[in-house]
């Protein structure tokens, strides 16, 4: 299947993970050509049936990654997709960030796992913002545009209660290495528009669970934070450096602390109005 500019071929020793993917990714195209191939494999032949255990093997994979139980096969597939892109993709500078847009202008929300970027992006996508992705911002090194990579949002633990009514969701996966996880498909309009890039207009570094606070960032600090947020900055060589330098020079950046989702959404929208 294809998500934004990337096609995946996913194979599995079992039927269940493929069926779960098929349902969750119902609205995505199924092209014949895939950029990356990977498989969900049993760690050994007998572990196909006895306490079935899944590992990812493919174009790009980590030999010492710990396997997951078959019930979490969907999570393994999501990790497989992340791995292919994080380790293989060179056409765009990748930033670990959620991206939403109004019209053709985008906000990049970059932060570590738990900073709340997925939750913010999902909430904003149900308030009239176009969802471009919650995992990677893909910056074209030639144009500076952010290309959508709108995979389903993975929500964890306390944010599970924030899933809006009527969303297409995957099964609740309990006891994963990240706690309880459920995947939420983006709005159909976001998938339909996944070939339309947007120009970055604001970079936010959100932090969930802190008293509301807002501070501008010096260009040098923005640059450092963005290099840390990129999975392929070094591998892209000079093109990566140029893309990051341009982003930092043209787009304002702020650090935003927020106590809860509602306050976060309000703060992001206030920042947008003030641009």
């Amino acid at each position: 299947m294809r998500v934004g500019p990337v096609g995946f071929r996913i194979g599995s020793d079992w039927h269940a993970p493929i069926a779960a993917l098929d349902a969750l990714y119902r609205d995505y195209p199924r092209p014949e050509f895939a950029d990356y191939s990977f498989r969900l494999e049993a760690v050994s032949p007998w572990r196909r049936r006895v306490r079935p255990s899944v590992r990812v093997a493919g174009d790009y994979w980590l030999p010492d990654a710990s396997p997951l139980p078959l019930a979490q096969g969907l999570l393994a597939a999501e990790m497989g997709m992340n791995l292919q892109v994080a380790l293989g993709h060179r056409r765009h500078l990748l930033l670990h960030a959620a991206v939403v847009a109004r019209g053709d202008r985008a906000i990049l929300m970059s932060g570590v796992s738990g900073a709340g970027k997925s939750t913010l992006a999902l909430m904003l996508s149900h308030r009239g913002w176009r969802f471009l992705g919650d995992e990677f911002a893909m910056i074209d090194p030639d144009t500076g545009l952010a290309h959508p990579f709108p995979r389903p949002v993975s929500l964890k633990n306390e944010s599970l209660s924030l899933i809006p009514e009527g969303c297409r969701t995957g099964p609740l996966l309990t006891g994963t290495p990240k706690g309880d996880v459920r995947h939420v498909a983006p709005p159909a309009a976001a998938i339909a528009a996944m070939d339309e890039p947007a120009r970055p207009a604001l970079v936010i570094f959100p932090r969930f669970g802190f008293p509301s606070a807002l501070s501008g960032l010096a260009p040098t600090e923005t640059f450092m934070r963005l290099t840390q947020a990129s999975t392929n900055y070094v591998a892209m060589g000079e093109a990566g450096f140029q893309a990051l330098t341009r982003l930092r020079a043209q787009v304002p950046a702020v650090a935003l602390d927020y106590p809860d989702g509602e306050a976060g959404v309000a703060a992001v929208e206030a920042l947008w109005e003030a641009l």
Partner: protein
């Protein structure tokens, strides 16, 4: 046609690319990545009118290869700087040598470690200089360390503390325990000096080394890539004097087989006597092409055979038994202590 056959056919004749359908491209690309030939393939196919998404994926492989080249040349530059006090040029081997010498074999080639060759008497000094300049020994145990120093053709691998890149310092091109004993002095003496304190093996020695690496050392993993090196070297600069040189190094058997295989797979221009495969050659070809469309390995028994062979050609049997016994006991001790 299987994806690995298509890969070989495309490397041999890029014009066949237009007949490949999108679903098969997915397989070919997966197999090319597994064989570390994606960059090579991408350069071979550059400029052909292919489906847009395939062009995009191949462009990506070229970006990767260009970065591998840049990183490898920088690493060679750093190694040469650290070893300047030796007063001897640093002879680059394999991928780094190909890109440093600007050879077609380096186009799109994946490059891992920085492999270099130095005269054996300089090795102690070289090791000290590298450690002073920031290279570190990988975590290793005394047996492995001693084994390297006593029996191998290289120092235990050193990794740079900041850049994380590995340098392998060789004093010859095969383990001392292997039966053939290449003439290391001739390898070093006839090396061609480049700028910047660097050098590369002479043309015929490059081919002999590639053949030795492919057929006299190891289990043929990545064999298609190593064989492509030989093809590209011969297509670019011929094979004059190769037979004599191979005989001089005691590696005629490896070079002969490499020539027959590279002609059979890639259509390399070789004289008639290397244009027919023997029965055993066919086993080698089968082993080198043992991958299916998901790039998974096939022919388990054949692979195992070549794996065992790789150990038998590396050292005499009694020594192998002792080595495996020690390794096995260490493995048990490690799992036992958790």
């Amino acid at each position: 046609m299987s994806a690995v056959r298509t890969l070989v056919a495309l490397l041999r004749d890029p014009r066949r690319a237009r007949a490949v359908d999108p679903a098969h491209w997915t397989e070919v690309l997966a197999v090319a990545r597994a064989e570390t030939l994606a960059g090579t393939l991408a350069y071979r196919l550059e400029g052909l009118a292919l489906p847009g998404e395939v062009v995009g994926a191949l462009a990506e492989a070229r970006i990767d290869a260009a970065e591998a080249r840049r990183t490898a040349l920088w690493e060679a530059n750093r190694v040469a700087l650290a070893l300047r006090p030796l007063g001897h040029p640093v002879i680059l081997l394999k991928g780094t040598a190909f890109v440093a010498a600007g050879l077609a074999a380096g186009q799109g080639r994946a490059i891992g470690d920085c492999d270099i060759l130095l005269p054996r008497p300089l090795l102690d000094h070289a090791e000290k200089l590298l450690v002073d300049a920031g290279w570190e020994w990988m975590k290793s145990d005394p047996y492995d360390d001693l084994y390297y120093r006593q029996w191998m053709h290289e120092l235990p691998p050193l990794v740079h503390g900041e850049r994380g890149r590995m340098v392998d310092v060789h004093h010859t091109i095969l383990p001392l325990t292997a039966r053939p004993t290449p003439d290391a002095q001739a390898l070093i003496g006839d090396a061609e000096v480049l700028d910047g304190g660097l050098a590369v093996l002479c043309h015929t020695d490059m081919i002999v080394h590639a053949a030795a690496h492919l057929l006299a050392d190891g289990e043929l993993a990545g064999g298609l890539r190593n064989l492509w090196d030989i093809h590209a070297l011969i297509q670019e600069r011929g094979m004059e004097g190769l037979e004599t040189r191979a005989a001089h190094h005691g590696l005629s058997f490896a070079v002969d087989r490499a020539l027959r295989l590279t002609h059979a797979l890639y259509g390399t221009t070789v004289p008639a006597r290397w244009q027919r495969l023997t029965m055993i050659d066919r086993l080698y070809r089968c082993r080198m092409m043992a991958r299916e469309g998901w790039a998974r390995e096939r022919h388990k028994a054949l692979r195992m055979m070549f794996y065992i062979r790789s150990h038998l050609i590396r050292m005499p049997l009694p020594m192998l038994i002792r080595h495996l016994w020690i390794k096995w006991r260490k493995g048990k001790a490690a799992t036992g202590s958790g």
